[in-house]
């Protein structure tokens, strides 16, 4: 059976069917790219998988387990948002460490793993900055680091390269796959471009 299975997913807002009977099976470690123009429902799709919204019908199953009654915090999903969604009142380090601390990992471990991930994304030198002091590229990589540090089984990437300037986007085109492959996650990458 596929690792991430989406069965006949539907979601409508005010008579407008945004997701209509979508079914996809994704195998473990696969990298799925979802294309589409803005407004076509890609973000809604990700949010349904993440558990922020409940579908009108259909089901999302991870590793054979239906996510219907499962809260977002229990789904073992990492997500990098288009506008980063970094916690503005915490340092980059605390942002990245958040998924580890919530699961009661020992602080020493937390520091080690967060720094390791930051190093891999080349932001280990700005870890004590607040998000507002980071450049777009750094913010984007912090968001990525946060989504990966907990080694979640599923990683959702909502057009993370959208708001980043051309040079960084070019670099990340190569780096991202490299980083993701290293973590062996199952990835859904949504983009307009």
């Amino acid at each position: 059976m596929a690792f991430l299975e989406i069965t006949r997913l539907s979601k409508a807002f005010k008579d407008h069917k945004v997701i209509d009977n979508a079914s996809i099976a994704i195998n473990k470690g696969e990298f799925l790219v979802v294309f589409g123009p803005s407004g076509c429902g890609k973000t809604v799709f990700l949010r349904l998988i993440a558990g922020m919204m409940t579908p009108d019908s259909g089901d999302v199953a991870i590793d054979g387990q239906s996510m219907a009654d499962v809260n977002p915090e229990d789904r073992d999903i990492g997500m990098a948002f288009q506008n980063y969604a970094l916690y503005p009142h915490m340092t980059a380090f605390d942002n990245i460490a958040s998924p580890l601390r919530s699961r009661g990992v020992a602080e020493a471990q937390v520091v080690e793993r967060a720094k390791e991930t930051a190093r891999m994304l080349r932001i280990d030198h700005v870890l004590d900055h607040l998000p507002k002091a980071l450049s777009q590229g750094q913010k984007q990589r912090t968001a990525l680091a946060r989504s990966l540090v907990g080694r979640p089984s599923v990683v959702l990437l909502d057009d993370p390269l959208r708001n980043v300037d051309a040079k960084i986007r070019y670099e990340m085109r190569f780096e991202l796959p490299r980083v993701l492959r290293r973590y062996e996650s199952t990835v859904i990458y949504v983009t307009q471009d």
Binding site: M52, N71, E73, M79, S102
Partner: protein, 281 residues
């Protein structure tokens, strides 16, 4: 061009004088002896005295017929207790509710929000009369407990009104990110939602405190000398004849000092709250 400038300067001066002079003069009066106050024509030159303030603090007031014992300090204490506890209660009740109204669009919620808002505009005496009957029969008349609950009519709508807008501005993505990190809803509420809405919560708390402090009619009707705040206490002063006017002035100064000081130091929050959150930043 210079004419315009002069006109502007004159206008600004008149405006400034009109709004600030009364405050200035009352403070001046509070330092005047009775003789200085009654002097005709009045003069800004006099020998200041702390006489009036000492009388108030000690509770021994001077009148033409001797001294009278009045516990105005108790009124100050009452105001503080009533305002503080009302605000705290409103925050406890209102912040979660404001969050619910901001995040969830549920029918009952819209109706509730509207009803609570309309309390702000309803004539208080309408419900105060029946409340007086109720309070007297269940022994809540002249109690802190009773008044703090009734003060919610003033403070709770304000908290809801202001804080709701701030919660609406907190990005849902940030909350979702925190949840995906593994935190429960409750943890997200306390570590993300509330800290990010802090300016709004502060503005609401401040404004509510001031409005509660300035309230007059609630305590007038539902309270007596036991829980009387400074507004009602000052009224008793002003209407009591024979109390030296300097002392009356000092009592008035005492009653406005806390809110004025609070306002000066938190001015930015107040302006935000006062513009009803209708105009954001």
């Amino acid at each position: 061009m210079t004419v315009k400038y002069v006109l502007r300067a004159v206008a600004l001066t008149i405006v400034g004088l009109f709004f600030l002079f009364p405050l200035f003069w009352v403070v001046l009066m509070s330092f005047m002896s009775n003789a200085d106050i009654l002097r005709n024509p009045p003069s800004p030159f006099f020998n200041p005295t702390l006489h009036n303030y000492i009388a108030l603090v000690s509770g021994q007031l001077h009148t033409n017929v001797g001294t009278q014992t009045v516990n105005y300090m108790l009124n100050l204490f009452n105001s503080t207790v009533l305002s503080a506890f009302s605000v705290i209660l409103s925050l406890i009740l209102g912040v979660p509710a404001a969050y619910a109204f901001a995040r969830y669009k549920f029918r009952l919620g819209e109706d509730m929000a509207f009803t609570l808002l309309s309390f702000r505009f309803a004539p208080p005496l309408l419900v105060l009369l029946p409340l007086l009957m109720i309070f007297q029969s269940i022994g809540l008349y002249d109690t802190y407990f009773g008044l703090v609950w009734v003060y919610q009519l003033i403070t709770l709508p304000l908290v809801l009104w202001i804080v709701r807008g701030y919660f609406e501005d907190v990005s849902e993505d940030i909350e979702l990110a925190y949840r995906l990190d593994g935190h429960s809803w409750l943890s997200t509420f306390f570590h993300i939602s509330i800290p990010l809405a802090k300016p709004g919560i502060a503005a609401a708390a401040l404004l509510s405190f001031i409005f509660a402090w300035n309230n007059f009619i609630f305590a007038l009707i539902l309270g007596s000398s036991g829980v009387q705040p400074v507004t009602v206490g000052a009224f008793a002063f002003v209407t009591a004849s024979a109390i030296e006017y300097g002392q009356v002035a000092a009592a008035l100064v005492f009653s406005i000092m806390p809110t004025l000081v609070l306002a000066t130091f938190t001015q930015r929050y107040l302006v935000e709250g006062l513009s009803l959150g209708a105009i954001k930043g």
